[in-house]
């Protein structure tokens, strides 16, 4: 019964979003449905918060490997929640200067702003910067010339990477740029051709396939054919 209601809600919401693209008076339906989803997500966050507390408290009480990280997580979670809810360090708004809580939670100078600016932002930046090392280690494995296909990939990557650097331009600068029948051999031109012709063609083919796959999946969900995401019947091999 509850799954039938869920399928009905999903179908009506999906239909409203499709119709909002074509029926002018229904244009706002897309935004309305998105707002419904945001409201549901906000309610579900309570479940997420409870899960976070439970899992980390269990880890701390079990004293298993990495329980210290759970303690740090809990402390950070509760501290952030506390300073956010109590608006610690937030100046009152101009409209209501007499009310301490009238200022914006993330106003500049507040404790939450400070935490974001001086803790969250640098940590996130550090993790993002580490991506460069992960790219290097993945490239090291991917570009091993172990067979013909890998050698082809290596050669192509070499041209594209070198063609996008000053060194690549210098290496083939001796090839005349004003002779079309040889100028394409310059690394910067070869790199541009690979990216704009071969890569674009392959990517577009994938995007067309993805778009058709998304449409077909959407239809399956709208007509209730695929209910596996609800933990029900068809799909996913659930029976």
């Amino acid at each position: 019964m509850s799954r039938s209601v869920a399928v009905l809600v999903a179908s009506v919401a999906a239909l409203a979003m499709v119709l909002s693209k074509f029926i002018v008076p229904m244009e706002s339906a897309e935004t309305t449905v998105a707002e419904w989803f945001n409201a549901a997500a906000a309610i579900a966050f309570v479940l997420g918060g409870a899960s976070l507390l439970k899992m980390n408290l269990l880890a701390i009480s079990a004293r298993g490997p990495g329980w210290g990280y759970s303690a740090v997580t809990l402390l950070a979670f509760l501290a952030t929640l506390g300073v956010g809810l109590l608006k610690v360090g937030v100046a009152p708004s101009v409209a209501y200067p007499g009310h301490r809580m009238s200022g914006s939670t993330d106003a500049e100078g507040g404790a939450l702003w400070w935490l974001y600016e001086y803790a969250m932002s640098p940590i996130t930046g550090t993790l993002f910067a580490m991506l460069a090392f992960y790219v290097a280690s993945a490239a090291f494995r991917a570009f091993r010339a172990k067979n013909a296909a890998a050698m082809f990939l290596l050669g192509t990557a070499f041209i594209v990477l070198l063609g996008r650097t000053y060194a690549g331009v210098v290496v083939t600068s001796w090839i005349p740029a004003d002779m079309p029948w040889v100028s394409w051999l310059r690394l910067e031109n070869l790199s541009a051709v690979i990216m704009s012709v071969f890569t674009t063609a392959g990517t577009r083919a994938m995007i067309i396939g993805i778009a058709i796959g998304v449409a077909a999946t959407g239809i399956k969900i709208m007509i209730g054919l695929d209910r596996s995401y609800l933990g029900a019947g068809s799909g996913g091999g659930n029976g």
Binding site: F22, I123, G209
Partner: protein, 281 residues
């Protein structure tokens, strides 16, 4: 006079500039529904083997033998993203195999709603496998909405628990490579699938198997094997063949027009078609 005034009001009900999109949508819907009807007649439909999905049992079996957990990540987006829905669908299959093998499955999620949907899906999978008592909802938990905080927590968990099989099915961004490289570092069999074209090279480089684009959306039908679901795959192929034919015709026509020059006989026709499709003249 009255008729003239009524005409614009009547037109305002329908967004005329979206007519080509509506026609394309109608073609896709007709092809998919027609193919489902065809599949229901019982005629055989051949599906190309997808190595990534065939390897699920091997990966979960390896995790069971090694006594290590299976990690499943359904991307970092919410349930309003179709890739997350497709990921949760595949989670159902992986959880069922894990239940049959009595392997421990770990599902850290980046969104609360995904956590609840994943719990329902995994519980149903354990029930379908005949092992409802083995289902542990605490293994499916919420971590954080923040992209890199989620990556840090999940990578740390991977380093400590050393999962033997890692599945990444959903919507991923910059975190894809960090997750896949950490999985590689702990020696896990890794299977990924996403429709984010920018992340596919990273998964291909770091994972053992990758479902590319449309294969990811075909997984639900592939795994269930139900005629209705398989019919949708046929519908997708029909639409793809149509797109292929239209692309070929358009390329041929464009070449002829280019050879004829701007004053050619077909130039006006091509301009009119492009304008009708919403493109430049």
């Amino acid at each position: 006079m009255l008729a003239d005034a009524a005409a614009p009001a009547a037109k305002a009900w329908f967004a005329a500039d979206k007519l080509p999109l509506l026609v394309a949508l109608a073609v896709v819907v007709a092809a998919v529904l027609g193919s489902i009807a065809y599949a229901r007649t019982g005629r055989p439909i051949r599906i190309r083997r997808l190595a990534g999905l065939d390897a699920v049992e091997e990966a979960v079996g390896r995790a069971t033998e090694m006594g290590r957990p299976v990690l499943f990540i359904a991307g970092i987006q919410d349930m309003d993203n179709i890739m997350t829905v497709a990921g949760v669908t595949i989670l159902g299959h992986v959880a069922k195999v894990a239940a049959e093998y009595d392997a421990e499955i770990e599902v850290p999620t980046s969104r609360s709603i995904v956590m609840t949907a994943a719990r329902d899906t995994v519980q149903a999978a354990y029930l379908a496998a005949g092992r409802p008592d083995s289902y542990n909802p605490d293994r499916i938990y919420y971590v954080t909405d923040d992209q890199f905080a989620y990556v840090a927590a999940t990578s740390g968990m991977m380093a400590r628990k050393k999962p033997a099989a890692c599945f990444y099915f959903g919507c991923f961004f910059a975190e894809s490579l960090i997750l896949a490289e950490n999985g590689n570092a702990v020696g896990a069999i890794q299977i990924a699938g996403t429709a984010e074209t920018a992340q596919l090279p990273f998964f291909v480089a770091a994972c053992d198997y990758t479902l590319i684009g449309e294969e990811f959306f075909a997984a639900s039908a592939y795994l269930s094997g139900e005629p209705d679901q398989v019919g949708t795959l046929l519908g997708q192929d029909v639409v793809k063949a149509l797109v292929w034919a239209i692309g070929l015709a358009a390329a041929g026509l464009g070449t002829v027009v280019a050879l004829q020059g701007p004053g050619g006989a077909l130039a006006g026709f091509v301009s009119a078609v492009r304008a009708a499709m919403g493109g430049g003249a």
